[in-house]
Amino acid sequence: MIPSDVAPSMAPAAARDALILNDCSIQVATVNGSGSQTANLVLIRSIFQMGVPVSGKNLFPSNIAGLPTWYTIRANARGFIGRKKEIDVLVAMNPETARDDVLALPPGAVTLCDESLGVHDLRDDLVTYVVPFDALVASIAPDARLRRLVRNMVYDGVLSTLLGIERDEMRRALERQLGRKPRALELNLRALDAGAEFAQASLVKRDPYGIRRMDATAGKILIEGNAAAALGCLMAGVTVVAWYPITPSSSLCETLIDYLETYRRDASTGKATYAVVQAEDEIAALGMVIGAGWAGARAMTSTSGPGISLMAEFTGLGYYAEVPAVIFDVQRVGPSTGLPTRTAQGDIASAAGLSHGDARHPLLLPHSVEECYAFAIRAFDLAERLQTPVFVLSDLDLGMNTWMADPFPYPEVPQDRGKVLTRDDLARLDGWGRYKDVDGDGIARRTRPLDGLPPTFTRGSGHNEMGGYSEKPDDYVRNVDRLSRKFETARGLVPAPEVDTVEGAALGIIAFGTSHWGVAESRDQLARERGIATSYLRLRAYPFADAVEAFIAAHARVYVVEQNRDGQLFGLMRAELDPALTARLRSVRHYNGLPLDARTVTDVILSHEEPR
């Protein structure tokens, strides 16, 4: 590399002088199955290794190969790593979408594209860098097939130079990915260098974006929500897993299977301390979980919308016969098949009351990979404590995308196996009845088969306190009233909301799950751009804690932000909370299948607060 070849403005120093540091969104538009995962992971990892908060989101089609896919990285020094509505830097790799991708950019955005795409002079309000991908890969990979593969690493190289992402970090990240494959590693390293060196040699930096080392990621991990939930199940001590594949939940059980195989074989015998069944469908999966829970196992399944619909009947059985079960719903866009590879929070209403008849279920609502992990553990404890199906509502954005997190803490609380009767208990209780409310919390004591205690006959039909079959009106009422009482008990046991009350704020915001990320940044926008202070309640579970009403009462107007068309949480709150308070609620809904971005929230709130 001859120093004089380097255009002066592209010296490493140039990137360091960038106007907008550590705050940009980068989108790589490519084709499904074309193998860009390594390049994208190297990109996000290298930024992460530089200490800059970052997230990566994969927007992929519902097929296997050949259709457009977009990978978006958000880096933000202040930790706002939700989706940014605007793309700052586009890497156009897909001939089919390049035109639309470029046309959709905001003025001033950056494009990195191949000349052959013919999009470099579509607009004159962009900063466009033309990269001769073909020529660059030809120089490294003689074999045409290999060229297709390393092509992606070239844009990493170019971006490294343009944005100032340290090439050594990229190399480290690449080694991490391909360390066990020396030839692959070598080729990719060459592609990386070729891209970086081309940029240094031939591009003049004209955009304001830059990445600069900071210290906000030290000790942190990168993980997807599904893997985090799987880890939670592993550490919760799950023993029976029954599942049926469905996007975007499959990787939860698949990762869990990997962990179980590795860490849950009996030391001495090598035998499994768990059973995993790929069931024939979601009905069977939940049936197995309920059968296992009845027999005393910690059992779980994971699914997405269509599976939730299919689980309605068995969920009702679990509720009414009072059998623990943990159900992960990694939500996608419904109804019906909908958009299987897009994110939503559209199952909260159906999950809350899943089943015909009167039924209510606790829902845990993680917003982060940390909570995917922690709530997974908690879900098993709650399911056994409450003897009922417990849902963990994640979503595609959280489950399948890469998130930064603090390392997960080892669970210090021992497993809560709930009110399982022992011989001693039995002696103490006078006249045990399976469905008797001895403690007034609606939770009766159960036995497990083979514990040597009196057997029970469990059924989804009418039963009395003693567990006997009954069609008597009073028995039915006594039983379902107790179930209502139990749900009240659940209210106090599920994770409490996280509340950030700002002195003097007239506005409140309520959100749950991944909507948090858009809301957190929107609050910042409202405050910085319009001087509007907002308080915030992040709901972490259903049933609603009393704190929710208190929060609403403390604010004049409260925006309920969620990712579905019908304002399902908003509806649930209106149905269950004091109308005097719910009159203050406003619904903010986002439902196009993309993760919620801050600007959308800000715009809707401003349209109410500052109507034109």
């Binding site: 768990y274 069931a279 009905i283």
Partner: protein, 347 residues
């Protein structure tokens, strides 16, 4: 009042338990219903085999047949699930506690219609479960609609004729991988008892299809003693809500012979008992035999197929010897170092 049993009282079994211990609560099924006779044989079989009742888990779906687990083995654990989904509940429970001896009772509607999917996959997995179909060719509990095992040509009360070929659950079970497949008749005390006892000793799925007359709704056109006849031919009864009392139908016949059983409605059932030297270990032969008899309008009865060596689902999954449900936290929650290793790999 327990289900009466044919075994004389007073005696005790190898556990020192009396037969009463194996009975259930009083049946609420119709008098003469074949299902009651089956419950009695289950009582006898578990008594005679000396099974600890508390070790048994009873499963069922929904239907008259699926009610019967309440009428035997009061000392056993019971789970009366939802319609057609007993197999998945049983699978989960038996994986959670491999020491449970599982017995499931279903109906031909519960299994053959809504539940056929779970049936197929339970058979395929060879889950260690005694799976009894109390097969009356109709939906008893919902008042007599046709089920998928109804004979071609059988007639509903409202005149609807079964014009689809009957499902043969035994053939399916053999095709699908069940390792013990048998057929019997509710009133054949000796044969049914023998089959049940063999099933208790087998590890793997035991599918037992038991022909079991529904005295109240199984109504074959043209029968001279059928309920329809009673109703329509001007006998003085005349109340559609009346369920007549019938006695149990019993039959005794020798191995290798065919018996003709007259049902309450006057229709006939042809049962052929497999010869004593029949070797039920060749799948192809068993299937051919079933088809053969079916073509002749007869039911082959006895143990039709058995593969004592087939690995059960619990074997296939390589589970630890202790019940999963019983594993203490120390064996199910990996240690700190595991979490740390994983965390390190994600950094």
């Amino acid at each position: 009042m327990g289900t009466p049993s044919s075994t004389p009282g007073g005696k005790t079994n190898r556990l020192g338990l009396a037969i009463q211990t194996y009975r259930g609560s009083k049946t609420t099924l119709c008098a003469g219903c074949g299902h009651n006779a089956i419950s009695e044989r289950i009582v006898d079989a578990f008594f005679e085999m000396g099974v600890e009742p508390a070790q048994v888990a009873k499963f069922s779906g929904i239907g008259c047949s699926s009610k019967s687990p309440a009428y035997f083995l009061a000392g056993s654990h019971g789970f009366n699930a939802v319609h057609g989904r007993m197999p998945s509940i049983a699978t989960g429970a038996l994986l959670a506690n491999r020491r449970l001896l599982g017995i499931g009772v279903s109906g031909d509607g519960d299994t053959g219609a809504i539940g056929i999917g779970q049936f197929v996959h339970l058979m395929r997995r060879n889950v260690p479960l005694i799976y009894i179909i109390e097969d009356n060719g109709c939906y008893g509990l919902t008042k007599g609609q046709l089920s998928p095992t109804a004979d071609l040509g059988s007639v509903l009360k409202n005149g609807v004729v079964s014009d689809l070929p009957p499902l043969d659950t035994c053939t399916l079970a053999i095709e699908l991988g069940a390792s013990f497949v048998a057929r019997s008749f509710s009133g054949d005390k000796k044969q049914l008892l023998a089959i049940l006892k063999a099933a208790i000793s087998h590890r793997g799925t035991c599918l037992i299809d038991v022909l079991s007359p529904c005295v109240t709704f199984n109504d074959h056109e043209g029968s001279t003693r059928s309920y329809a006849y009673v109703k329509d031919h001007d006998e003085p009864v005349g109340d559609v809500s009346f369920v007549p009392f019938f006695d149990d139908i019993t039959v005794e016949y020798d191995a290798g012979t065919t018996a003709e059983v007259r049902m309450h409605d006057g229709s006939r059932l042809l049962l052929h008992k497999l010869a004593a030297d029949y070797e039920p270990t060749d799948r192809a032969q068993s299937l051919a035999l079933l088809r053969d008899y079916a073509t002749r309008g007869e039911f082959a009865t006895g143990i039709l197929y058995i593969d004592p060596a087939a690995p059960s689902f619990v074997d296939l999954l390589g589970l630890v010897d202790d019940p999963l449900a019983d594993l203490p936290q120390a064996r199910t929650r990996p240690g700190r170092e595991v979490l740390e290793t994983i965390m390190a790999s994600l950094r």
